[in-house]
Every structure is written in structure tokens, then in C-alpha cells.
């Protein structure tokens, strides 16, 4: 693959998983309590997609990575302080809601429109990366709809491995049922790959990469296009936290043999 890939990673922010989340009724539907105040992280599966994109760009000469993010730009600015140090990319910001209660169809339309407007993007070399699901909406739908709007027929969901061959064709391993992978071979770009965890660790912070990225991040935030992303046609009757606190019986200072017997009896029962 002499000319490399143009890799667009779709990824936005979600509440830090360690935060307590509480649904409330907002003016436009359900929302999270103190949503704008909650610390955010890059959506975990999208983060894996970004790391895989950076790795691929490093190995396929001539490649370039864009990160297209849909979210409130003030919060994206905060998020970029950490993400910018992880991998080289050019940021494209779509200023809109990152709520899990928005519709994937609308989110996909906003993201695909932003991708279509990226200057110099070579659609014949395009790989659209993203997470296999968001940690907010958790729908596993958005990436396919982005691909549809971009006219991309080759799509993969739950990807853990991408192996590019010299011809530009590539092999993909996708997660399927029963702890198995489906192995496929695609003739080449363009394609959509919605990643699971992949095989790469989170890269360490690299201040030099961060400095290089930051030169483009502030202009990208200033150029952010507003997007109205909601959930037209959807009515939420209620959103509630599961109330299933269990009365935990603590078994302490009991001989191991007794515990083991109790476990065996329970398993057999």
C-alpha cells in the first residue's frame, strides 16, 4: 500500500465510567444530572479505534488520521488536553449533544456530513474507524449508518484485528458469538471498521505529539460546526436506575472446607 490510508476515527466523549450517573428529565428529553459538569473520557471503544488508527498510519506510509468528534465543544476542549498526547491526528469538531439519549441516525448524519466536508480526503483510500458501540447510547448502530451515508459497502463490527496486505487488501477478525472470530478478507478501502478492544495497549502520553496536535486543535474547535442532534420521533416514558440492591450475606472466619462445600452445593442445586 504505497499511498497509505486516510483514516477517519469517529469518537466522542462519554462520562467517566467511575462517575455516578443519575437520569433526570431535561427540557428536550432525558438527560444526566449535572451532565455538563461530569468529567469525561474518550469513549472507550472509540479510543481503541484511535490507537489502532495511529498504529496503522505509522505502518502504512502516506497515511493520515482525523478524529471526528460530536459533542459540546467546551467539553471536547477539555478532553483534548489528554487525548492529544496519545496519538497524532487532525481534529474535526461537530458541536452538538453527546448525550446517550440522542438518536444514532441523527448522530450518524452529523458525523457523515462532517466527514464529507474534510478537505483533501481521498474517499478511495478511506477507512472509517470507530467503536463497536458507545458507552452512552450503546447501540452498535452509528458506524453502519455513517458508512451508508458515505456509500461504503464493506463494513465490519466488533473488530479486534486488521492485517493489511501489500496489495491494499486486508484481513479482519470480528467478534461473533461463542467467543469466536469471523475472519474476512476485503479487497481494500473504502471500508468501515467498528472496533472492539483490538490488541493494542493505551499509548503513553507523548508531550511532543500533544504539542503538535494542539496546534490544530484550537483552530478546529473555533471552526466547529453546530449540529442539531436529538431524537426526533422518540418519546421516552421513563428512564430509571435499576433498583436491585441485594442483601449480601457475608461469610467470614469460616474454614475453607466449609466454604467450598457450600459453593459445591450451590452449584449443584
Amino acid at each position: 500500500m504505497s499511498s497509505g490510508f486516510h483514516i477517519v476515527v469517529c469518537g466522542s466523549l462519554v462520562p467517566d465510567p467511575l462517575q455516578t450517573l443519575e437520569p433526570i428529565a431535561g427540557p428536550a428529553g432525558p438527560a444526566l444530572k449535572n451532565e455538563m459538569m461530569l468529567p469525561s473520557v474518550l469513549d472507550p471503544w472509540a479510543a481503541h479505534a484511535l490507537y489502532e488508527a495511529a498504529h496503522l498510519a505509522k505502518t502504512a506510509a502516506g497515511s493520515k488520521v482525523w478524529l471526528v468528534s460530536l459533542g459540546p465543544k467546551a467539553k471536547l476542549q477539555q478532553l483534548m488536553m489528554t487525548i492529544a498526547q496519545k496519538a497524532p491526528f487532525e481534529l474535526v469538531v461537530v458541536d452538538g449533544s453527546a448525550s446517550g439519549f440522542t438518536d444514532p441516525f441523527e448522530a450518524a448524519a452529523a458525523l457523515a456530513s462532517a466527514i464529507e466536508k474534510i478537505p483533501g480526503l481521498d474517499r478511495s483510500r478511506l477507512l472509517v474507524f470507530g467503536g463497536c458501540a458507545s458507552a452512552s447510547r450503546d447501540a452498535s448502530v452509528t458506524m453502519q449508518m455513517i458508512g451508508e451515508q458515505l456509500g461504503i459497502a464493506d463494513q465490519f463490527l466488533g473488530v479486534d484485528e486488521l492485517t493489511v496486505q501489500p496489495s491494499g487488501a486486508f484481513k479482519v477478525l470480528e467478534r461473533i458469538e461463542g467467543g469466536q472470530y469471523q475472519a474476512s478478507e476485503c479487497a481494500g478501502a473504502p471500508a468501515v471498521l467498528a472496533w472492539a478492544t483490538g490488541n493494542l495497549p493505551e499509548p503513553p502520553n507523548n508531550p511532543q505529539v500533544g504539542m503538535a496536535n494542539m496546534r490544530g486543535i484550537m483552530p478546529a474547535l473555533q471552526k466547529a460546526q453546530p449540529a442539531k442532534v436529538g431524537a426526533e420521533g422518540v418519546t421516552f416514558a421513563k428512564v430509571e436506575l435499576p433498583q436491585q440492591k441485594r442483601e449480601t450475606r457475608i461469610v467470614k472466619d469460616v474454614p475453607v472446607e466449609e466454604i467450598a462445600k457450600e459453593i459445591i452445593t450451590w452449584i449443584k442445586g
Binding site: A153, E177, Q182, C186, R246, R249, V256, I259
Partner: protein
């Protein structure tokens, strides 16, 4: 009045997966509860006659099929086109289908082409006043929404383990085969086959009675100041062999493989349960050496009976989440459990 289309796809042997029968139960219940609703079925596969025969007694007004070598395996371009054609042909306003990896990949594309909408991970529905509302989780199983839509077609991908599998009579079904023309562009991807992850053995068993969750504590220094990773792995594998349990893992444990730390060779990221892993459904779950708070505990949200072994009585995995917490050394407990279990399997798979 809603026109309901039940969709399923075959497995490589031509039969339907268990979840397809679960979702058929859901489709039948929905048809019954929505006044005036009609039900059709649509099947995709290399050959759909065996599958059609298996649901012949379900009472679908007609069974549509898309069959042929191009539809024998799971490929986005051909599946999305087949699904679109089936939904369009049926005139369905509501589509109900199993959330298999195959449909999860392709159904959103079909929905887009039909200008419809799709909801995934649907775990229940209500039909109050003749109006359909669905339940689905948001924020990785941390909150449940009840919602409805006006846009049609509305396509629902149902999670497994929610409905009992339909067990009606089989028969000889008449299948109305629907032609689907694929362009060359739709055939750029070739499915090569299936493969297991690079681990010492397969430990994921979706139909197991018991989920065994291994936490990062298994690879930490023990009371003697040393790690005992090999011993941990042997204890876990012995237990799995005796119980036929499925193996789940916390994120921190599987992440160790990419961080260069000592790892259990039987684990891959596919074993991971929780916030960025799976949320499997099993009747029972036993967590060992697991630590963490709410985000990680969603890994056993759908486990009915839960027990945990941990040295910390305040462990977030267990307090308020498990029915029983054994405050003990998991190495010792599991060694004794394996001894007491003997050589035979103590539990049969469902």
C-alpha cells in the same frame, strides 16, 4: 395496525440459533398484544427450507426467504441488501429480529436504506393502550429506558435470554423466495471462516449454567509475597472442566496481556465482562478476586444468583451486588472446591 415481520438467519448447518426461537416467542406475543397486528416471517441463509420448517407451526401469514451461496455467510453488504428487500417486500411497519452478530452488523444499514429507525439491545416491551413501548438499557446497562417511536419501519433487535424459546410444531413450510441482486461492489468482502482467539483453550460458553468471573487478584502477589499465575490458571481451568462454567474476566485482568504483565493464557479480551466487555446472561455467577465499583459490576447485571470470593468484606463487586460474599483466599477456596468436586462434572450445560 402494525404489520410485524419476524426476521432470522440460519447457522452454517441450516438450522436457526436458539435466540431466533426466543425472538419468535417475542414476535408472537407482540402480534397477540397489538390489536389487529399481522405477522410474517423472513429468513436469510444459504438454504432456508430447514429453518422455515422449524417455524412452520408458529402461524406466520407467510414466510419470505432470501437464499443462495451469497447469503450463506455473514457479510455486511449482502446481508444489508437482503434485509432491506425482505422488509420492503413484507411492507412491515415493525420488524423484530435477534441481536446476533450478523444482524447487529447489517440491520442498521437496512434501516438507513429504508429511512426507518432501529433500536438494539431491546430487553422487553409493553403494549399499553395498543401502543408499543420498548425497554432498553443506556450507559452500558446502568439505566433502563422505556420509549416509543413514531417512525416506521421500526426495527427491533432483541437481546438473548429475555424470552423463552418457542417450541411449537415443525412442519413443511412454503417459502416465498425473494430475489436479491448483488452488485460486484457488494462482493468485495469474502468470509474466510471462523477462528478461536489465541488462547490455550476455549472458555466462553454462552449456554453454561454458571459464569466464573476471574479478577485481577489472581495475578497479584499473594500472602507469601510471590505471584502464582500458573497455579491460578490451573485452579481456574480445573474448575471450568469440572463445572463446564463459562469464564469471564475483569478488564484489569485481560488488560495485563497488553501491558506486559504476567497473564492467564486462557484469557483474551473476549472473556472481558463489564463496562467495555460483555454482559452475559447465566443463571449463576461466581466472582473471584474481583474488585471495582458500579461500572465494572455491570458485567454480571444479568446473572440471577451471584456469589463472590474475596479477601475484602467491603468489595464493591459483592456488597449489595452478590447474594453471598465469602471472605477468604480464593486460591485456597478454589483448590478445595476442585478437590471436593472430584473428577466428574458437577453441572451439565443447559
Amino acid at each position: 395496525m402494525e404489520k410485524i415481520l419476524y426476521l432470522a438467519h440460519t447457522q452454517p448447518d441450516g438450522t436457526l440459533p436458539k435466540i431466533a426461537f426466543e425472538v419468535l416467542s417475542a414476535a408472537l406475543e407482540l402480534t397477540q398484544k397489538l390489536s389487529g397486528a399481522t405477522l410474517s416471517a423472513g429468513l436469510i441463509g444459504g438454504d432456508v427450507q430447514t429453518a422455515a420448517n422449524a417455524i412452520a407451526g408458529a402461524g406466520a401469514a407467510k414466510i419470505l426467504g432470501v437464499a443462495g451461496p451469497d447469503f450463506a455467510s455473514s457479510r455486511y453488504a449482502s446481508d444489508a441488501e437482503a434485509l432491506q428487500v425482505l422488509i420492503r417486500q413484507s411492507g412491515a411497519t415493525l420488524v423484530i429480529a435477534p441481536a446476533t452478530s450478523r444482524f447487529s452488523r447489517a440491520m442498521p444499514g437496512a434501516a438507513y436504506r429504508l429511512n426507518g429507525r432501529t433500536d438494539t439491545h431491546v430487553s422487553g416491551f409493553e403494549t399499553d393502550g395498543g401502543k408499543l413501548s420498548i425497554q432498553r438499557w443506556y450507559y452500558r446497562q446502568r439505566m433502563m429506558a422505556t420509549m416509543t417511536r413514531t417512525t416506521r419501519p421500526w426495527i427491533l433487535l432483541m437481546d438473548s435470554g429475555v424470552f423463552q424459546p418457542w417450541q411449537g410444531k415443525t412442519g413443511t413450510a412454503s417459502v416465498e423466495l425473494v430475489p436479491v441482486a448483488l452488485t460486484e461492489k457488494a462482493k468485495r468482502t469474502q468470509v474466510l471462516g471462523f477462528q478461536a482467539p489465541a488462547v490455550s483453550q476455549q472458555t466462553i460458553r454462552p449456554d453454561a449454567e454458571l459464569l466464573f468471573v476471574a479478577g485481577a487478584g489472581w495475578t497479584k502477589k499473594q500472602s507469601d509475597g510471590q505471584t502464582h499465575v500458573k497455579e491460578a490458571e490451573q485452579l481456574i481451568l480445573d474448575f471450568l472442566a469440572k463445572t463446564q462454567a463459562s469464564l469471564g474476566s475483569s478488564k484489569s485482568l485481560v488488560d495485563q496481556s497488553t501491558e506486559g504483565a504476567a497473564v492467564l493464557s486462557c484469557l483474551s479480551h473476549l472473556n472481558q465482562v463489564g463496562q467495555t466487555g460483555s454482559t452475559p446472561r447465566h443463571p449463576k455467577g461466581l466472582a473471584t478476586c474481583c474488585h471495582g465499583e458500579e461500572p465494572h459490576v455491570v458485567g454480571w447485571r444479568f446473572i440471577n444468583e451471584r456469589r463472590a470470593v474475596n479477601l475484602d468484606p467491603n468489595c464493591g463487586w459483592a456488597q449489595g451486588k452478590a447474594d453471598v460474599l465469602y471472605v477468604a483466599d480464593a486460591f485456597q477456596v478454589m483448590k478445595k472446591v476442585n478437590e471436593l468436586a472430584g473428577k466428574e462434572c458437577v453441572v451439565q450445560a443447559k
